[in-house]
């Protein structure tokens, strides 16, 4: 014990170096997380002047019986089912295409231009897409009906129940596939070239090399993508800006519903909303652990 204290004292400068970090993280990351868990066990309604009461599992029981759970789950899954495969596939294609260009300057130029949507501020992009989708001023309807002369079978993009969620997914694919491309490029660069040469000497086709070498060795990249995309489970900002959950509740995602519970509807039921967020975090953790098990095991990195 004495030696531990001596070590702590000897290396005390280390604690001084991380003190500011711990101050910030403790106050604005750890404390809110702990407080979220506490809130989820209370009847905390922000706009109600009465004191909070600890209510045990009441919020969680209500969560399990809330019909909005399944509705918002379904909406979120619908979004994810379109968005995740599309932007991973598109990002992979972009990575492979730019990687096949021999001239490095040209390849870098392509990559930079393709990465631009990623660095643009999300809310402004969402507003701009909202205008592009607009049936009276928007460019998409304009192109389809006035320039191509086709008839557009929907009322509009974001105002049509069937098209609203796909429209948000299209925007998200547009904005983030450049980022996926970069992740894949890093992964592709980590694959030793000798493998492809050996395969070519053995007479394997380009497609075969892709399936047997590239895809398996990109597994760690897929893992990183899955882990970093888990946050999308709580997607809130895009529907908040573009549709406010509408038309009807067609784009009411889990995250947006929880947000509205806490900050828009009724007395701002922060306690109940916190239960929603805790369940979301649990769900994301389970998925993350599954990804770790299935994608991480054969990782070639340390």
């Amino acid at each position: 014990m004495n030696t531990l204290f001596r070590r702590i004292w000897k290396e005390r400068s280390g604690y001084a170096f991380i003190a500011p970090l711990l101050g910030y993280i403790g106050m604005f990351i750890f404390l809110p997380v702990v407080y979220t868990i506490v809130l989820s066990f209370t009847r905390h309604e922000f706009l109600r002047p009465t004191k909070d009461a600890l209510v045990g599992l009441v919020n969680y029981v209500e969560w399990f019986h809330d019909p909005a759970i399944w509705e918002t789950f379904k909406n979120t899954l619908y979004f994810l089912a379109m968005y995740i495969p599309a932007h991973v596939l598109y990002g992979l294609i972009l990575a492979l295409l730019t990687n096949s260009i021999v001239n490095r300057r040209v390849a870098t130029l392509y990559r930079s231009l393709l990465y631009i949507p990623v660095v643009l501020p999300l809310p402004i992009v969402a507003y701009a897409w909202k205008w592009m989708y607009d049936p009276t001023i928007g460019v998409f309807t304009h192109i389809i009906e006035d320039i191509l002369g086709l008839s557009f079978p929907f009322k509009g993009w974001l105002i049509d129940k069937r098209l609203a969620m796909p429209s948000i997914a299209i925007m998200s694919v547009w904005q983030y596939s450049g980022w996926i491309m970069m992740l894949f490029l890093v992964g592709l660069n980590n694959i030793p070239n000798q493998l492809y040469e050996a395969a070519r000497i053995d007479g394997s086709s380009a497609w075969k090399s892709f399936c047997r070498i590239t895809l398996p060795l990109l597994k760690p990249t897929f893992f990183v993508i899955v882990i970093m995309r888990l946050a999308v489970l709580g997607i809130t900002v895009q529907p908040l800006i573009m549709t406010e959950g509408g038309p009807g509740r067609a784009t009411m995602t889990y995250g947006l519903h929880a947000y509205y519970l806490a900050f828009r509807w009724g007395n701002w039921r922060m306690g109940y909303a916190s239960a929603w967020y805790v369940m979301l975090a649990l769900f994301a953790t389970v998925l993350g652990v599954m990804a770790w098990k299935f994608l991480r095991e054969e990782s070639v990195y340390d």
């Binding site: 531990l4 070590r7 702590i8 290396e11 400068s13 280390g14 604690y15 170096f17 991380i18 970090l21 711990l22 910030y24 993280i25 106050m27 604005f28 990351i29 404390l31 809110p32 997380v33 407080y35 506490v38 905390h44 295409l97 730019t98 260009i101 870098t108 392509y110 930079s112 393709l114 643009l120 501020p121 992009v125 507003y127 701009a128 897409w129 205008w131 592009m132 009276t136 001023i137 460019v139 304009h142 006035d146 547009w174 980022w179 970069m182 992740l183 490029l185 890093v186 990183v224 888990l230 946050a231 709580g234 900002v237 800006i241 806490a262 922060m270 916190s274 967020y277 805790v278 990195y301």
Partner: protein, 285 residues
Amino acid sequence: MITASRLKKDIAKTVIHLLLIAAVFVAMFLLFWLISIAVRPVQETYRVAASLLPKKLTIVNFHQVLFELPQMAIYYRNSLIITFIAVGSIVIISALAGYAFARVQFPGRNLIFWAVIATIFFPYTISLPALYDILFRLHLTDSLIGLILPYTAIWLRLGTLIMRQVFLSVPKELDDAAIIDGCSRLGAFWRVLLPITSSGWVVVAIFAFVPMWGEFILAFTVTSTPKSMPISIGMKMLEPNPAFAEWTFPVAAAAALMIFIPSLLIFIVFQKWFTKGITAGALKF
């Protein structure tokens, strides 16, 4: 035979370039379109008169954003103050912490480091009600400082991860030598390590600035008056609304472009650092 295979190769090359040019066009389309809207007079935005390219060019919309919408200047100033202070704090704090995590052997080092990094995977949105309640109790809602402090905390973690990686890649003999020569730890950090890790600092600053400039949900929740609203919230106020007498669509497009400018400038100037940051931040833990 040789020419046939070369022809095939040339065709493949051309197809790849054509596909990439199409992809670039798609990626840039939003910018093209916003520019084409922002430089046309209001009348040309009505559907009947609309066209992909403007018929008449004008800068009146930019003029309006810059000089006739006083709240725009306030939003812009707020955003600049917030990002300047928060990014500055992040760079300094994450460099200090990254150094300690890479170099000083204090007990509990790895536990603390991974506890901090693990929180990156839980987006701050899930603790938003709690965070709002805390800020409210501290009387920090609807103030610039009420955004600066949480923003610093949120993007500090990635910065720490990157800086630790940067310091690990510096040979340890360098600062050992400085310490033997009579420098204190802080002195070794300041005189020897700072200059050679400067590109790491740039990466940290970029990766804090880009998401912070576009942060929406926390600012949307915490601010309620223009005096503390950043530009991302200001856009909401400028949204064109047919219900109002004046149709401000080209003005809104001009405003959107002006909000894009800092992000684009940073990206163009620091392009190669973006790849570095992605490599360090995403694949090395």
